[in-house]
Amino acid sequence: MSEPLLVLDNVTKNYGAIEALKGISFSIGKGEVVALLGDNGAGKSTLVKIIAGGLEPTSGRMLFEGKEFLARSPAEAKAAGIETVYQDLSLCTNVDVVANFFMGREITRKVLGIPVLDERAMEAVVEKALASAGTRIPSLRTNVEHLSGGQRQAIELNRFVHWGGKLVLLDEPFAALGVEQTRRGLDMIRQVASQGIGVVIITHIMQQAFQVADRIVVIRQGVVAGDVARNKTSPDAVINMITGETLAGAGPAG
């Protein structure tokens, strides 16, 4: 395995008496794509939120680039180089595409010492980013509320590709995408990984996991039930890990 980027060491999370995560340990290498699989309620989203700074773990520790790491807010995680695409989209529909793309990271120039938004520079960047990803949006100045679900998701995906950072977390990023857009999204992930960025992708679709991931990590009832290289396993074996038993007549996965 390549040099570890993020190491999780026995991370737990309790909600009162409920143990959502009972001790998760695994690692992500630089340029590695890890698919995080598991049934509903297995704790995948909780885990992503802990890495992304949305939740604090109850116990356990994380190492990011070899150093002790704990993000107390999304801003801290972002500053460390962790980008997240959430299941429910994180777009402000009341502003335009450019404003969303640069949310919290606006390009400014100083006028009399006051930071002023440099709209032209930002628009140029967005135009380039979307064009290179093959995403077509009629006008970058339309408010996002007027765009389709697929277009919105495309903006989110292009956003993380553009900002990159060191580690990208994707929580079911393709839920609203069509076949062609999904294929392009998967390409984007490979492209991002080839730049040495670590990628964690949560998905329910086995086929996607096998298409894109280097390694598959299965979480069941708050523990890691399996951690295998993609080319050493099969969809059926993974399904067994997810459910914890062999289902008779489960049919082909995906």
Binding site: P74, L89, S90, C92, T93, N94, A99, G104, I114, L117
Partner: protein, 331 residues
């Protein structure tokens, strides 16, 4: 639909309230004798300065997805503070500073600081203690007005120091300086909202607070600043109010809150947050003022004003819904 008509239509929708203002002015000028005079138009602007300044602060907080019901009482408290210190009769202490002009920055600073302090208090309770802005600022609306009554003993202060009064008397291009202050406020805050990251962040927080938090924007800090600004601006409105009335009474500015809400809503700001611009709010303020002036000129009893304002707010909300449907068709 070709792009040009689409752009034209979007332009009209974005600036609808300005077109309404123009329409109303034209109609009044045609049908009401003596309406079409420069003096009348100057008066419309002059009469709207206090309300206008107050509406800016209210609009900021509403655009950020919250609410500030306390602006009216805050303005009254600031006005009373200035009145008590710098008025020479009634309950005024008649404090004199030398040189005289020093009273201007001191009184202004006092008014703004009083407002900003109450704004900070509101902001802290809403953002950190996570209580509903509606309830918190409703409480402030009540206790701050109560405080005005307490410190004034229900009496009034008259005869504001001439150095401060000067702003209400001195005219520049036909308008008193107080009106220019209001206009300057609109220009400055419109620029802040449209051109700076802070303004952009407030709009986005009003649109989707979770998304902005995840994007690493310091939501709490921005919201508290918005509340402090709303309070400070209300303080400035109080300062202007004290100048206009040359003093302060215990019930100064009662009813301004509802006019400010009307102006903000008519100006195209959505109470749900995230939508609206300050130039629109100014047009809303001018529209209300234009209608008031028309009512005065026609000699209608002033009581009609309230009915008309209420209907206007209703019309503005309906219009907003209508605008939304058109926009959806455009997209």
């Amino acid at each position: 639909m070709n792009p040009r008509t689409r752009h034209a239509l979007e332009f009209v929708l974005d600036n609808l309230v300005w077109f309404m203002l123009l329409f109303v002015l034209v109609v009044f000028s045609i049908f009401i004798p003596n309406y079409f005079q420069l003096g009348i138009f100057a008066n419309i602007i002059e009469a709207s300065s206090v309300l206008g300044v107050m509406s800016i602060g209210l609009a900021l907080v509403i655009i950020a997805g919250h609410m500030d019901l306390s602006v009216e009482s805050v303005a009254a408290l600031s006005a009373m503070a200035v009145g008590i210190l710098f008025c020479s009769s009634g309950i005024g202490l008649g404090v004199q500073l030398h040189p005289e002009w020093l009273m201007v920055p001191v009184s202004l600073l006092l008014a703004v600081a009083v407002g900003g302090l109450i704004g900070a208090c509101n902001g802290y309770l809403v953002v950190r203690v996570k209580m509903s802005a509606f309830i918190i600022t409703l409480a402030s609306y009540i206790w701050v007005r109560g405080l005005v009554l307490v410190i004034s003993g229900g009496r009034s202060a008259q005869d504001l120091a001439p150095a401060i009064r000067w702003f209400g008397i001195q005219r520049l291009v036909g308008l008193p300086l107080t009106a220019w202050i209001a206009i300057a406020c609109f220009v400055v805050f419109s620029l802040i909202m449209a051109k700076t990251p802070f303004g952009r962040h407030l709009v986005m927080i009003g649109g989707n607070e979770t998304a902005t938090f995840r994007a690493g924007i310091r939501v709490n800090r921005n919201l508290i600043i918005a509340f402090v600004l709303a309070g400070a601006i209300a303080g400035l409105a109080g300062w202007l109010l004290a100048i206009r009335t040359s003093g302060a009474t215990a019930n100064l500015g009662v009813g301004l809150l509802f006019n400010a809400f009307a102006a903000v809503v008519i100006g195209g700001v959505s109470l749900k947050g995230g939508v609206g611009t300050l130039p629109g709010v100014y047009a809303g303020v001018l529209l209300l003022s234009a209608i008031n002036t028309a009512i005065n000129l026609m000699g209608l009893p002033a009581n009609y004003t309230q009915v008309i304002h209420g209907l206007l707010v209703l019309a503005a909300v309906l219009l907003d819904a209508f605008k939304q449907t058109i926009r959806q068709r455009l997209a």
